[in-house]
């Protein structure tokens, strides 16, 4: 072990002279090194356990596990397609709604808010991230869903019924308020604090000389944001959005409450569906045998999708505040 850690000593930081406390020194250094390694072991462990746990389902179903839409616990036939589509479409809708809101909030906080107002507003936005997922689920199911059914789904269905394209995408066959779009809206509010606060930090880091010179040649605030700030922070803003996407893909409890948990594909975003996470949360405790493997295999797919998204996100954002 000493051999491994020795070459990582920072030259100059540690006195090379042996001291009476030498043993504690070595123990302490190795303990902290092992703890750091544990982080790597964790990720590898999660990856391995998902692959091994899900392997029987992958072997049994082959590529059909991903492409098939059948989820039949009686005959042990499992296909993940509806859950994959549900996961991607709820996350996509969450971004469509959440990204403009987050960027607006970031611009307001950095450019428009009076100084005394900035701190309380920032705190309020960040507290949105502290509210537990299950509370969003309760709010969604008991407060938002009835309102959404009565004031959006029913009137909208009456308007779009029979129209081409919008008549399919926005028509709800059973306007219960539950569905893919509802899940997307709740997810949007859950990812806002993450995207908004990272974007805010990015905009704050841009040297104010750039802003001042743009104002100096007569640009309006909108033009400064559009032509100076956004191009400067562009890449990190995309990173922040990807980070929000990573959150939205794996969000479980809130989605389970409002997505409707229907195992079928529908062309309408108003119809109930399911996501990978909601399917796992719903069925796990009653699952046995191959169904259990199929659920872990779903987790495996979720792991690899979020892993790729998060790696890209972290590369783009590189180093910002932790949440």
């Amino acid at each position: 072990m000493t051999a491994v850690t020795d070459h990582m000593t920072v030259p100059g930081a540690a006195p090379q002279r042996k001291t009476p406390k030498g043993t504690f020194d070595i123990v302490f250094r190795n303990a902290s090194f092992l703890s750091a390694l544990f982080v790597l072991v964790l990720l590898a462990g999660i990856m391995l356990s998902m692959v091994i746990g899900g392997w029987p389902a992958f072997r049994e179903m082959g590529i059909g596990f991903i492409t098939s839409s059948v989820w039949d616990t009686q005959n042990d036939q499992y296909g993940a397609w509806p859950a994959i589509v549900g996961t991607l479409s709820t996350a996509f809708l969450a971004l469509v709604i959440g990204v403009p809101l987050s960027l607006g909030i970031a611009v307001y906080l950095t450019q428009l808010a009076p100084p005394w107002f900035k701190q309380p507003v920032s705190t309020a936005i960040e507290l949105l991230a502290a509210v537990p997922s299950i509370i969003y689920g309760m709010w969604g199911l008991f407060v938002f869903v009835p309102l959404f059914a009565a004031y959006v789904q029913i009137p909208l269905s009456n308007i779009v019924e029979g129209l081409p394209i919008v008549g399919t995408v926005l028509y709800s066959r059973s306007p219960s308020g539950l569905g893919i779009l509802t899940a997307g809206i709740i997810l949007a509010f859950m990812i806002i604090p993450f995207i908004a606060s990272i974007t805010r930090d990015m905009l704050d880091q841009i040297p104010s000389v750039l802003r001042e010179s743009a104002y100096g040649i007569g640009a309006t605030t909108w033009e400064v944001v559009r032509h100076v700030l956004v191009p400067q922070a562009g890449v990190s803003i995309i990173g922040a959005i990807m980070l929000g996407l990573g959150r939205a893909l794996g969000e479980t409890m809130a989605v389970t409450f409002v997505v409707g948990n229907a195992n079928r594909l529908s062309a309408s975003i108003m119809d109930p569906g399911s996501t990978i996470a909601s399917r796992i949360a719903n069925e796990f405790n009653e699952a046995m045998g191959l169904q259990l493997n199929a659920l872990i295999a779903l987790g495996c797919i979720l792991f690899f999708v979020t892993f790729v998204v998060l790696v890209i996100a972290r590369i783009l954002v590189s180093r910002v505040k932790a949440y």
């Binding site: 930081a13 990720l43 746990g53 307001y108 428009l112 537990p132 409450f257």
Partner: protein
């Protein structure tokens, strides 16, 4: 053309003599209104959620909530005592698991691992674990602990929460240690103290409040986690056994199971539990925030 300066503007006022085209002015105004409106909407949603919790949760809150255990199906009354105690135990277990590992790993990254490729990789992976879906961590602990040991247990729940807390603690510990000025360490080294002593009695001490904040933030993060507990500690309607074997009652899963149940007292308790858990977490986050601001 009348020049009106919007009262909310903090930026430079428009020059009186400028020839600003109307379309530019309109675009600017539109952006200001939209940005302020979006911010207002997000804050409105926060207060809507809190308002909902207070209106629906306060009615279900009584002394019995804290003294009686969760009621069985169809029985009257009941409280959340076992769920609250269970949640405290699981969260405490999680923090006990995560704190030593997280603090030491963060120390390694900040103090020993400067410039090392391996430390960079660990830091990167830690950032990914920070936003990894908690449901996967629940599945992971199910595969490594619940299945081999033959049943749900509070220990598995605590480990799952601990794994979620570790990356938070690693990250804040490292960030806080990096804020400690180098000359402090050099002064310690110059007196002949070995690195371990410099770290434990100088750097840690200087970064103490920040590190405590990290632990508080981790606490706030895991206290409301539901998904990982469904696969590990599950829940039950009785006092859990002191060995923590079998289901351990806890607030989040109780809320999940009671919220859409057909019994009115269950729903009442779900709302009361939601109020308790959200308020505790918000207070924790606000305290952590205050410590950070105080130390800066």
């Amino acid at each position: 053309m009348s020049l009106t300066t919007p009262s909310t503007v903090r930026a430079l006022p428009h020059a009186e003599w400028g020839r600003v085209r109307q379309s530019r002015r309109t675009a600017d105004k539109l952006m200001r209104i939209t940005a302020a409106g979006f911010t207002g909407l997000a804050i409105f949603v926060l207060f809507w959620i809190l308002g909902m919790l207070i209106v629906k949760g306060l009615g279900g809150l009584s002394a019995a909530t804290f003294t009686q255990i969760t009621p069985g199906p169809g029985s009257e009354g009941g409280g959340l005592a076992n769920a609250i105690v269970g949640s405290v135990v699981l969260t405490f277990l999680g923090i006990v698991v995560a704190t030593p590992i997280g603090v030491l790993a963060g120390t390694y990254l900040a103090e020993y691992g400067k410039g090392s490729k391996l430390a960079d990789l660990i830091r990167f992976i830690n950032d990914i674990l920070l936003s990894a879906p908690s449901i996967l961590i629940g599945l992971f602990v199910y595969v490594i602990m619940v299945e081999p040991l033959g049943g749900y247990s509070g220990w598995a729940g605590g480990v799952a929460l601990g794994i979620i807390a570790i990356p938070v603690i690693v990250r804040t510990t490292e960030d806080m240690l990096r804020l400690v000025p180098g000359p402090l360490r050099e002064a310690g080294s110059a007196l002949g103290a070995p690195p371990s002593v410099v770290i434990t009695s100088i750097t840690w001490r200087a970064a103490k409040s920040g590190m405590v904040t990290g632990i508080l933030l981790a606490l706030a993060r895991i206290a409301g986690e539901t998904a990982p507990l469904i696969f590990t500690a599950l829940n039950n309607n009785f006092w859990f056994s002191p060995t923590l074997k079998g289901g351990v009652s806890n607030l989040p899963v109780t809320i999940y199971q009671f919220a859409s149940a057909p019994y009115e007292n269950w729903q009442q308790l779900a709302w009361a539990g939601s109020l308790i858990i959200t308020m505790s977490i918000l207070v924790l986050s606000l305290i952590a925030r205050r410590i950070v601001r105080g130390s800066k």
